[in-house]
């Protein structure tokens, strides 16, 4: 565990000295800030963050791949991955550390949005429960997005390709799945195709958090998919030795 923490610290430190983290954070904050300021933060608007939470689900599809694209791809391109993999740490520890590093960086990126809560409290009487559950949802969502990004980053040494793969997968999970579900037949070969696609949709599981409901089913979904992506990432790393 200490090795994971050590690697995580190294990962987080590398983020703070890398311009890409600041660019991604600034980009995220300007988009989210714009939507919040001119969408939600108007006199007479509901004193809630539900709308901005929904928007963030989409913004993050584009921001998180920027954060994760370099984590393994860059190491692979520069050759540092080899030395990391020959160090006395397991592939799982490497992947976990990379994941935690990116995820903590993501949480750091979210932190300034607490300003929105302060503003709502100053000018209205928001319900704090749904805000808290919304942030919990964002944390879990971020975990999944980061895991997808890491998996994409492990597949290639090209950062751009890694980001594009992440975009495509995340767009499919977050945005296209509900639409695909509507065009699919409800059942094919005895398999409830539509139900399956519906249940894999991020939106379905994320929406409850933003309105104040924390359902164990949704937590299982995010945790299970995150672990699954991390498992695949470990397998991709391992495969370098026998491919």
């Amino acid at each position: 565990m200490s090795k994971v923490l050590l690697l995580t610290r190294r990962e987080v430190s590398s983020f703070f000295v890398s311009p890409i983290a600041y660019v991604a954070t600034a980009l995220f904050l300007v988009i989210a800030g714009f939507f919040f300021a001119f969408g939600d933060f108007r006199p007479g608007a509901p004193a809630a963050m539900r709308a901005i939470f929904e928007v963030m689900m989409i913004i993050l599809v584009f921001i998180i791949p920027i954060l994760t694209m370099r984590s393994l791809a860059e190491e692979r391109r520069s050759g540092t991955l080899e030395s990391l993999l020959t160090a006395p740490v397991t592939d799982t520890q490497v992947v976990l550390a990379k994941f935690l590093g990116c995820w903590l960086m993501y949480l750091f990126m979210l932190a300034p949005t607490l300003l929105y809560v302060i503003l709502l409290a100053a000018y209205g009487h928001p319900e704090y429960g749904p805000i808290l559950s919304g942030y919990l949802g964002l944390a879990l969502l971020g975990g999944l997005y980061v895991a997808v990004g890491l998996l994409a980053s492990s597949l290639t040494s090209n950062q751009v390709i890694s980001a594009v793969i992440s975009f495509v997968v995340l767009i499919g999970l977050a945005l296209l799945a509900p639409w695909i579900a509507t065009v699919l037949p409800s059942e094919a070969w005895g398999i409830p195709l539509r139900g399956i696609v519906q249940r894999t949709s991020v939106r379905l599981h994320y929406a409850d958090f933003s309105q104040g409901v924390v359902d164990l089913v949704h937590i299982i979904y995010f945790v299970a998919l995150t672990l699954y992506c991390l498992f695949l990432t470990v397998k991709v790393l391992e495969s370098r030795r026998w491919r």
């Binding site: 983290a21 904050l29 800030g33 300021a37 933060f41 709502l120 209205g124 009487h125 089913v217 495969s239």
Partner: protein
């Protein structure tokens, strides 16, 4: 040594495959293992997600909203745990995977009713999708028919009677038409009017025979459907019998005229016989029609018909207790969202209010005893029975009364101009009086002036300890003042009805200002009543200020709920006429202002000790804030403009009724909590929010960049 061991193990774990193996061999050796592992992980992840969604969805969830919008409130849990009878709740939402929205709505309702089932063993929950679940529908229909078997006996007997009459009538009408046609043909020398009349009657009977067949088919279809519509069928029969009966009744007179004609132009024997036998021919039928009409006269609107109608509208919840069945419709469960408009497509059109709808229905089914709210009026209805001549259905508080009924109150008017006796509603556990200012004089409907003497019975009731809501009203030409002002004094409050609260606002682009008699508040003093309402806009229209006595009368405690805001833009103008027209000008020598520590109140909660018991009352400076036209005022987009009004009024009544534990804000309204006015700071704050954190992060990034380059 330990390091060496560790390094060895790490190397062996990560060591490359045996040298000398080709890539193909390596793929064959390791590939299948990895594929199996990935497949296994995929299956586990998929099963985890799928099974959790199927098995525990809605059962392991935590609701983090303040009012528990997504879980049963303590109030409902207490109600359900204390149910005196078994209740079956059936979710009748039509849903299909082809329509994800219908699935979502169904799921939400099912989650809710499942929670009712989990909260009490007396509640049975089932779901029947009317679109596909034929067995479920059949079972439901069978249950309903068995339940209403007694109620259906009478209409069933009526339908049987109809069958017999219709059988005779169906045979009689064509035969009689034929007989009439033959008679007209046989009467060779008849005046043309006479034969025309016979032919016309024959034609009418032929038409009635045809109509009778249609009616018979209609009655059959209405009574033979799964849930028979007996009321509709009986009404259709009565209409038909009336038409035929009216015509039959006119026949003897017509035939009498023809008999007169026959004296001048002798008619054959069969014609004379026909004309002479009018009464004996038609009277048996008219008697049967009259008897049918008499039997069906006391047939009440069937409960099953109501239920059938409600169910046939689709998407509803059916609640069955041993004594009653009620249907909770879509409009009650999914209320229209006042916040939804075209500019905000992401805001849902409907909000889920299932719990309040189901719980209030359960309450009305299982707990018939409830508090009564009497609106004390004088010569005009407040909650119901508006005068159609005056262009209205219900009174000024009709919608408010409906809201109170939903909160399980009995609501009635006590019109003192009609009766000094306080109404005693059946099943009322206690009475709360709401004093409504008398209406302005109406030349078309003169009523004696409302005096304190006329209000004495109600005033005495409050003095004796009846909980009350007192609504003041500024005195003016159109308003004679409130005849129950002494009640305010009873609670240590002086209503300044010679003044009206105004707010100076900018009214045009030139910056011109005008003082309008409208006070919109979103800030309230802390109290049980106002706590849930915080942030909701409440509008006080034409309200007088209330002055709280520095030293309350013995046994009285006052608490200001809403104060007139402090500031140069708010005051209570003593020129009521001018202020009412929006022409008020502040006059420091006469007008009243709110001061910190010495506020002018718009609403006060008071308690008073009467014979060792606590009496509660809430006093408001104006009555209009609770009238439907203000409390339920919607803008052109249909948004509820002042959701605080109704909540404040209902919460006040709950408080005086001693039901503080039920004080809350309705889920749909809670979502209408809005941001207050930010004045001129809106744009700067918006720009700061959008750009501030970004700029900060960018600056830090640049500093880090140059620091690293150094």
């Amino acid at each position: 040594m330990a390091l060496e061991k560790h390094t060895n193990s790490a190397v062996s774990e990560k060591s490359p495959p045996a040298p000398g193996m080709t890539q193909r061999q390596r793929w064959w050796k390791f590939g299948p293992n990895v594929l199996v592992a990935i497949a296994l992980a995929t299956v586990i992840a998929f099963l985890g997600v799928w099974l959790s969604g199927t098995l525990i969805r809605g059962r392991a969830r935590s609701d983090w909203t303040k009012t528990g919008r997504f879980s049963l409130s303590p109030r409902t849990k207490a109600l359900v745990a204390d149910l005196p009878c078994d209740v079956r709740i059936t979710n009748l939402y039509i849903h299909s995977p082809d329509n994800p929205q219908s699935e979502e709505m169904f799921r939400r309702v099912q989650d809710l009713v499942s929670q009712y089932g989990a909260a009490s063993s007396k509640v049975t929950v089932e779901e029947v999708n009317p679109a596909v679940d034929a067995g479920g529908v059949e079972g439901l229909v069978k249950r309903l028919r068995e339940r209403y078997a007694g109620e259906l006996e009478k209409p069933k007997a009526l339908i049987e009677d109809y069958g017999k009459i219709q059988k005779d009538l169906g045979a009689f009408l064509p035969a009689e038409a034929k007989r009439l046609t033959q008679a007209a043909a046989a009467w060779k020398d008849a005046p043309p009017d006479a034969t025309n009349a016979l032919r016309m009657v024959a034609q009418r009977w032929t038409q009635f025979a045809a109509v009778g067949q249609f009616v018979e088919a209609d009655v059959t279809s209405q009574t033979e459907q799964a849930l028979p519509a007996y009321s509709t069928a009986v009404a259709r029969i009565k209409e038909y019998f009336k038409q035929v009966g009216d015509n039959f009744a006119a026949v003897p007179e017509l035939y009498g005229q023809l008999q007169d004609a026959a004296k001048k132009a002798p008619a054959p024997e069969e014609v004379n016989a026909l004309l002479a036998g009018a009464k004996t021919t038609y009277e048996p039928f008219t008697k049967q029609f009259a008897e049918f009409d008499k039997k069906s006269a006391d047939l009440k609107e069937l409960e099953l018909d109501d239920i059938r109608r409600d169910i046939s509208q689709g998407d509803c919840i059916l609640l069955e207790s041993p004594t009653q069945i009620k249907v909770v419709g879509l409009e009650d469960v999914w209320v229209r969202n006042p916040q939804a408009d075209e500019q905000h497509p992401d805001v849902p059109e409907r909000l889920f209010a299932g719990e309040s709808a189901v719980s209030s229905t359960l309450l009305s089914m299982c707990k018939p005893d409830k508090p009564a709210v009497l609106f004390v009026t004088f010569g005009a209805p407040a909650t119901m029975g508006g005068n159609p001549m005056m262009g209205g259905g219900g009174g000024a508080f009709a919608q408010m009364a409906a809201r109170l009924r939903k909160a399980n109150f009995i609501v009635e008017d006590w019109d003192l101009a009609r009766s000094p006796e306080m109404p005693k509603p059946e099943h009322a556990t206690k009475t709360i009086l709401v004093f409504v200012p008398p209406p302005p004089p109406n030349m078309q409907m003169p009523v004696p002036p409302a005096t304190p003497e006329m209000f004495k019975p109600a005033i005495d009731a409050v003095k004796a300890g009846t909980p009350a809501i007192l609504l003041a009203d500024p005195a003016g030409m159109m308003s004679p003042g409130i005849p129950y002002a002494e009640l305010f004094e009873l609670f240590g409050i002086t209503p300044k009805t010679n003044a009206i609260c105004v707010h100076k606002v900018v009214v045009d682009a030139m910056g011109n200002e005008k003082a309008v008699p409208q006070i919109e508040v979103t800030a309230y003093e802390s109290s049980t009543i106002t706590e849930p309402v915080k942030g909701l806009p409440t509008m006080f229209l034409a309200a007088s200020p209330l002055v709280v006595a520095k030293e309350s009368p013995a046994g009285v405690t006052d608490q200001v709920l809403i104060a007139l805001p402090v500031g140069a833009d708010y005051w209570a103008d003593t020129n009521v006429m001018m202020a009412g027209r929006g022409e008020a000008k502040f006059d420091a020598s006469e007008d009243l202002v709110s001061k910190k520590g010495e506020p002018l109140a718009l609403g006060v909660a008071a308690t008073r000790t009467v014979k060792d018991a606590e009496q509660k009352a809430v006093l408001f400076g104006g009555a209009r804030f609770a009238e439907d036209r203000v409390a339920f005022y919607r803008d052109m987009l249909g948004r509820d403009m002042f959701p605080g009004n109704a909540e404040l009024f209902v919460n006040s009544i709950l408080w005086v009724a001693g039901s503080e534990h039920l004080i809350t804000v309705s889920p749909e309204t809670l979502q209408a909590r809005r941001l207050g006015d930010m004045g001129q700071w809106v744009l700067p704050i918006q720009l700061a929010v959008a750009g501030g954190p970004t700029l900060l992060v960018a600056i830090i990034g640049i500093i880090v960049y140059f620091w690293r380059r150094r």
